[in-house]
């Protein structure tokens, strides 16, 4: 509104200047006309009689000019030699100019700015020839007054119009914003956790905005729900190992035999490690979820990613499972986020180690046309058809999943793979065990 007002003010001032200019010009033109017709009628009244100039001054001509009460009028009729025939002798001369048109000019006279006109008239009679110059002048007060009056009127008109315009605009804007105000009030009355769609009636122009707001709230609400479920599940997963930890600790305090105490301590260590792995997994899952929303992709070599993932997924301590790698020669270029792919592959390898039984872990990376194909296979119990779909849902665990699995990994893996334009599926191998197959589009180098 302020901008609008300022803009209007600037416009009004410009208009004012235009009005003043117009007023002055109009006043000038009108009075100049009067001046010229006065001079012309005086010129008409000049006659050459017997070689003598005779002027029958038409007082009406001068009356015309005296309608401006505060102005003074001066006149002079002179011959071609500059001798005054009648009138004020000392009227200022016109600037030299040729031609017979009436000539208008401004000059100082008798202490004021005066507007003069000079009209030349030639006479040709039987006896003599000659030229007279009629000069009439009028002070500028009246025309200035006229100009001012016009400007004043214009000012009032502009002022009234501006005010009206402003009021109209203010009214219009206010009305337009009223549904917004209503919306704002409705939103501020809501509970912070209330993300239900808005249903206040809004003018058609605002439908799009309300729809966009509703969509946003829905996305936020579902994201909140996911986060809430994630945190509830995470807390839940931690409770049992924590209970074991606490129970074993309390027991150990009452034990007397060192052997029994050792046993409890080992159990404590086991569960603490499990919880720390769980925590790490959950943190990495959360950061993967966040990062996969950002989609910072760059060309990378999948072979290297697989090696890194394997290195990070194999347990540092304890027995290392046997791993058989079948990786194609040369680089396998893929466009993606190296960290995300590494985490996803790590997840699959981790699962294979945990649930894949005792046989060797088999990892293969090959190239088929435009796709890179990665398989991770184990010799475990495999998966039932019903589970094959369900395990990709967040927290969905297969029936045979032993205790302690976080159950979150596969949902993350699927999300990462799909955000890279690929797909993943699980199936049972004829020779026993589960194979996870990932297809990723190759990057045209």
């Amino acid at each position: 509104m302020l901008y609008l007002g300022a803009l209007l003010a600037v416009f009004a001032v410009a208009l004012l200047f235009a009005a003043r200019d117009y007023g002055q010009r109009a006043a000038n033109r009108s009075y100049d006309h009067l001046l010229v017709s006065s001079a012309l009628s005086i010129a008409d009244s000049v006659a050459l009689v017997d070689g003598q100039w005779q002027v029958d001054l038409p007082y009406a001509a001068l009356d015309l000019l005296s309608m401006a009460e505060e102005d003074r009028v001066f006149y002079r009729v002179a011959d071609s030699r500059g001798r005054t025939i009648t009138g004020y002798e000392d009227l200022p001369q016109a600037p030299r100019r040729s031609g017979n048109q009436p000539q208008l000019f401004d000059a100082e006279y008798s202490g004021e700015k005066v507007r003069f006109v000079v009209v030349k008239r030639s006479f040709a009679a039987a006896s003599a020839q000659g030229e007279v110059q009629v000069q009439v002048g009028q002070t500028r007060r009246a025309r200035a007054e006229l100009a001012q009056e016009m400007v004043n009127r214009a000012l009032i008109a502009i002022g009234v119009l501006s005010a009206l315009l402003l009021a109209l605009v203010a009214f219009g804007v206010h009305r337009a914003f009223r549904p917004l105000v209503r919306l704002e009030r409705e939103l501020s009355r809501r509970e912070p956790s209330d993300l239900k769609p808005l249903d206040s009636h809004v003018p058609r122009e605002m439908n799009q905005m309300v729809a966009a707001l509703n969509r946003f709230m829905e996305r936020l609400s579902s994201s909140n729900e996911t986060l809430r479920a994630f945190m509830a599940e995470a807390a839940h997963q931690m409770r049992t190992p924590l209970a074991a930890l606490r129970a074993q600790a309390q027991l150990a305090l009452d034990e007397e035999e060192p052997e029994d105490m050792q046993r409890s301590l080992r159990a404590i260590e086991r569960n603490a490690t499990h919880m720390s792995r769980l925590l790490n997994q959950l943190l990495s899952d959360a950061s993967v979820i966040h990062r996969s929303n950002l989609q910072r992709f760059a060309p990378l070599d999948l072979v290297e990613t697989v090696h890194q993932a394997l290195h990070e997924a194999l347990p540092q301590a304890g027995p290392a499972p046997r791993v058989q790698l079948a990786i194609t020669t040369g680089a396998v270029q893929v466009n993606g986020d190296a960290l995300l792919l590494r985490e996803a592959i790590k997840n699959l390898i981790d699962n294979a180690i945990k649930y894949g039984g005792d046989g060797p872990l088999q990892i293969a990376l090959t190239v088929q046309d435009t796709q890179a194909v990665l398989t991770i296979a184990d010799h475990g119990p495999g998966i039932s058809a019903a589970d094959a779909e369900r395990v990709f849902e967040r927290f969905g665990r297969g029936e045979n999943a032993p205790a302690g699995g976080a159950g979150l990994g596969l949902a993350i893996v699927k999300r990462v793979v799909e955000s890279h334009g690929g797909n993943i599926d699980l199936s049972n191998r004829p020779e026993g065990g589960l194979v996870a197959t990932i297809h990723l589009p190759r990057h045209a180098a």
Binding site: H236, Q237, R239, T240, P241, L242, A243, A244, L245, R246, A247, Q248, Q250, L251, D254, D260, R263, S264, A267, R270, N271, E399, N400, A401, P402, A403
Partner: protein, 229 residues
């Protein structure tokens, strides 16, 4: 008393089992719902400690199965889920009590005691017979204020007999209450324990009567305690 523990976390189960066995109870352990359900079909227990989150068959379904069969064994539900809805649901399905993980062992033991005592129809943990006092909560037996030391198995035997004061308790029943699947109890183990118990309670106003071919009975007497009645 004979307890069945159904819990899939091995370390937690181990802690509970060791604790309860040290207290003299007989504890059997199942790590999944299916195993628990089948054991419950042919074996009776004094108390079932049941985790909800179990593989193969979850605790609530095991419990529902028990109640449908008319098995009214007291059940203490253990679980990592601690919301109000979860508690209400467990209690409605038929649990007698509910404990969230992680828990303090003292609370766990106290709640177990309550359920065992209810099973016996006892109002409190302390039974007073003349100058003889049996305090289950404090794990103490005393006569005229003086403590009588009892090893755990004997304490539990006394607990069983005190719970059925004035009634004959069959030898089989005693065996079921004292020994789990893994305990090696010889054919005369119970007689041995009864004998030892009698010796220790010689000065108490109690008498353990042998009912041949049936079992044993604990009853109040006016001083002095002799063998077979």
């Amino acid at each position: 008393m004979r307890l069945l523990l159904v819990e899939d976390n091995a370390d937690l189960a181990d802690a509970i089992i060791r604790r309860m066995r040290r207290n003299g109870h007989a504890v059997d352990w199942q790590a999944d719902g299916m195993g628990a359900a089948s054991v419950l079909r042919y074996q009776s227990f004094d108390l079932v400690v049941l985790d909800i989150g179990l593989p193969k068959l979850d605790g609530l379904r095991v419990l529902a199965g028990m109640r449908e069969r008319g098995d009214s064994t007291p059940v203490l539900m253990l679980t990592a889920r601690d919301g109000i809805e979860d508690r209400v649901q467990a209690l409605d399905v038929g649990a007698d009590d509910y404990l969230g993980k992680p828990f303090d062992f003292r609370e766990f033991e106290a709640r177990c005691r309550v359920l065992l005592r209810r099973g016996r129809g006892q109002a409190s943990e302390v039974v007073q017979i003349g100058s003889f006092q049996f305090d289950n909560a404090a794990h103490r037996v005393s006569l005229d204020g003086e403590v009588i030391e009892l090893p755990n198995r004997e304490f539990r035997l006394l607990e069983i007999l005190v719970g059925r004061l004035g009634q004959v308790v069959g030898k089989d029943e005693i065996g079921k209450g004292l020994f789990g699947f893994d305990d090696e109890a010889g054919p005369n183990a119970i007689e041995l324990y009864i004998g030892r118990l009698r010796k220790k309670l010689i000065a108490a106003p109690l008498r353990i009567t042998t009912v041949r071919g049936v079992g044993y009975m604990l009853e109040a007497s006016d001083g002095g305690n002799d063998g077979d009645g």
